[in-house]
Every structure is written in C-alpha cells, then in structure tokens.
Symmetry: C2
Subunit: 224 residues, 2 copies
Amino acid sequence: MLAMTDPHNIIELAESTIAGAAANLRGPQKHKYAHKKLLAIEAAAKVFADKGFHGATTQDIAEQMGIQQGSLYYYFKSKEQALQEVCEYGFDRYVERMKKICAKDQPFEAKMMAIITSHLTNYSHKDSAMKVHNEQRLYLPVERRSRIKELGSRYRKLLEATLTDGINSGFLRADIDTHFIAYSIIGICNSWGANLIRDESLNLFETIEQCSDLILYGTLNKNL
Amino acid sequence: MLAMTDPHNIIELAESTIAGAAANLRGPQKHKYAHKKLLAIEAAAKVFADKGFHGATTQDIAEQMGIQQGSLYYYFKSKEQALQEVCEYGFDRYVERMKKICAKDQPFEAKMMAIITSHLTNYSHKDSAMKVHNEQRLYLPVERRSRIKELGSRYRKLLEATLTDGINSGFLRADIDTHFIAYSIIGICNSWGANLIRDESLNLFETIEQCSDLILYGTLNKNL
DNA sequence: TTTTTTTTCTATAGCGCTATAGAAAAAAAG
DNA sequence: CTTTTTTTCTATAGCGCTATAGAAAAAAAA
C-alpha cells in the first residue's frame, strides 16, 4: 500500500463511499481513518453546538473524542476546517431526501408533514451538526461557505417549488408568498429543532404534528 | 460632589432615570457617564451581533466606540458583564410594552399584529441587542442569566395568556396548544428579526403582515 | 520477525486576548 | 487660577489557545 503523504486526502473518497461508516463498528477496520474522521466530525459538532465555534477549543473537541489536543490535527487541518465539515456533514444526503419527498405524488398535507419530519428528524439524529450549521456557519469566511450556501439554496428552492405546486393544484391559498412561507417554515423548524436538542423531554412526533398543523391551518377559529 | 469610587455604581440609577439618554445629545452633559455607557452597550451589541460573544474582542468594541481597548473597562467590569447588559438592554421596557398590548381590548387579529409589530420593531430599533439576546445569552453563566430568564418567561406567559383569551372568546381554535404556539410565534419572529437585520432590503411592514397572516390563517386553501 | 505505514502523543513556539495599574488629559468645582 | 473629579490613554502581566514538529506507539504488510 502506498504511504499516505497527507491523511486529509482520503476524506472525500471516504465520505462518498462509506456513508454511515460511524455505525459500522464490526469487522477488521480497513478504513479506520475514515471511521474516526466521522467520529471527529461528530465530536466537533457536539462541542460547537454547546459552546459555539469561538467558545469551543480544540482541546474540548479532542477531549470529547478521548484523544490529545495535538492529535486532532490528524483529522482536521484547522479548527475552521472542522467547522466547515460539521456544517456540511450530512447536508447533501439531506437535500437528496428532500428532493425525493418533493417529487413524490401525495396529498399536500402529507408532503408538508414529511418535509417537517425530515427537517426535525435530522436534529435528533445528526448530533447537533444541523444546529451548528444554523447557528455557526456565518462565522466561516465566505470562501468556505460556497458549498453550504449552494446546498441551502437548493433546499429552499425545492421547498418553494413544492409550495408553488401546492398553489397550482389548489391545495394552498393563491395569495401566499412562497418565498416568505419557505423561509418561515425553515425558521419554525430550526427554532423547534434547537428546542428538541436542548430539552430532552420534548416529543419529536408531537412537535412535528404541531408544526405541520400551525403552518397549514393557522390558529384562527374557522367556525366564526 | 462626592468622588466616584467605582464608576459602575451609577449604572442602575442611570438606566432607570434617564431612559433614552443616548438620543438626548444637547445641553451640558451632566450625565456624561450614563450617556456614554449606553453608547458602550450599543457598540457591544453591534459587535456581538456580528461576531458572536466569543468571536468579538474588547478591542472590537472599543474601536466601534472610538476609544482605546483599555478604556472600555471604565464602562464594563468585564466582557461577560457587557454581554449581560446587552442582553438585558431595553428588555424590561419591551415586556412593559407587551403588557400594554395584551391588556388592551381589541380584536384578536389586531392584537396579534401589534405583538408581532412590537417584536420585530425592536429588531430594527434596538441595534442588534435583541439578536444578541437570542443568539448569545446561553454563553452567559447561569448566575448572570436570572434576570434575563425572568423577563423572557414573563413575556412568554403574557403571550400564552393572550392566546388563552383568544380561545375563550372564540377567536382562536379551541384545540391549539398555547404553549407550543407561543414558542412558535417567538421562533418565527426571531427568525425574521435576524433576517431583517441581515438583509436591509426587507420591508418591515410587509414582514409583519406576512407573519401575522401565516400565524392566524395558515397556508391551506379554505375554499376546498 | 522485520519493515513499513498509520495513528497518537508530548512539548512548545508564537500569538492574541482580557484585565489591571498608573499616568495623563479633560472637565467641573471652588 | 487652583484643586478636585471624571474620563481616557499607554503599557503590560499573564494566560490560554492554535498549530506544528518530531518522537513514540500501534497496526499492518512483507
């Protein structure tokens, strides 16, 4: 086997080929680097979510992983790169999922619920990476944010298009501003997503139902 | 006049007696300290909003005020205290305003719009203090957060009570969860508040209308 | 086993940041 | 004008943090 001049080079390959390797713990670990790299991203996500990017230290992240501070640089070139990778972590798969949901032909209520479920589920599963994406990504210099921006706007456009479909097929009011509603949906989901992480006693499914209900039906009594 | 052993002692007096002193620029400045203190809070708010608490330096804040880094400590005992004061800045008056709005006897739609207007207007006027409150207050140690917590929950309770009134008087659906809706309203407002600060091209009044509309009417087509 | 490759560790250079102390300047009082 | 009080400045102690270098340990290959 060729020597790895720079361990960071294997990353992209790893990310795309062995998705979910973090869960795959059995068998002789041929891809130990890729595996621990994912653990490193998750550790960074956890710490950044708790303390914020600038408030977190590389020492904190290393501790969370159970390694020494200096060893962290075997997985990240810099703290900033760690933030970037946390923000991007799982985002492409997330957008893919959104694409599928939007493409599926189903009643609008169900579609909206699926969208919200996808969004909020991510908060529970992705260990704070989503929270970090929302709250810390602006601390990255622009040149590190292009991919994140790209994915974010792709997500928003999918949502807007779905809303437009909803209007055209008569499910939604014709007078809503799809751009505004898309931002609002994302806003509500992120707000509740952060609550879900902070407060363990909150029920995911109830939250999903309540969010869908509010967005679709509002609060006003229609019997009036 | 007695010598000021510690300039920080005058703060509370100042805050309560000369509200809005920052705008009162004419006349011989008998309360120069109190005046500049408010400028200091606003400068800190601006910087914390842009860079986050840990990302901001006391140098940044001093620069924003046009003084030297060391001089900042004439106004704040510590950087942490600066964050605390920014988070509390104007919050009590804000809760008072909310109280008045909720107490007023008016159609529910108007009340909801007034609440949202009050919330979003704060973002435009209070120079980022509200944004800092939302995004950075958790970086304060708990002992510095008691007042902020107090005010926040008082605000939430006012909102919940108003929603309960709305249900009792038949304006609102009887099956909504006031606690959930209150959090959601705050979430939407904060999300759009942050957008308003970031994007100057956004129209405040349109945003207010759109938020009210979404919360009250939802998005579904009722003609179906 | 021996050699090569991968992973982790220790130690530290070097920088920037908070907070303080004391002097200096500006303003107000006497 | 002189004295006192308020405000700002300069300089720096002291700490913690990022990132690097090179040794050491562990794992894999030969």
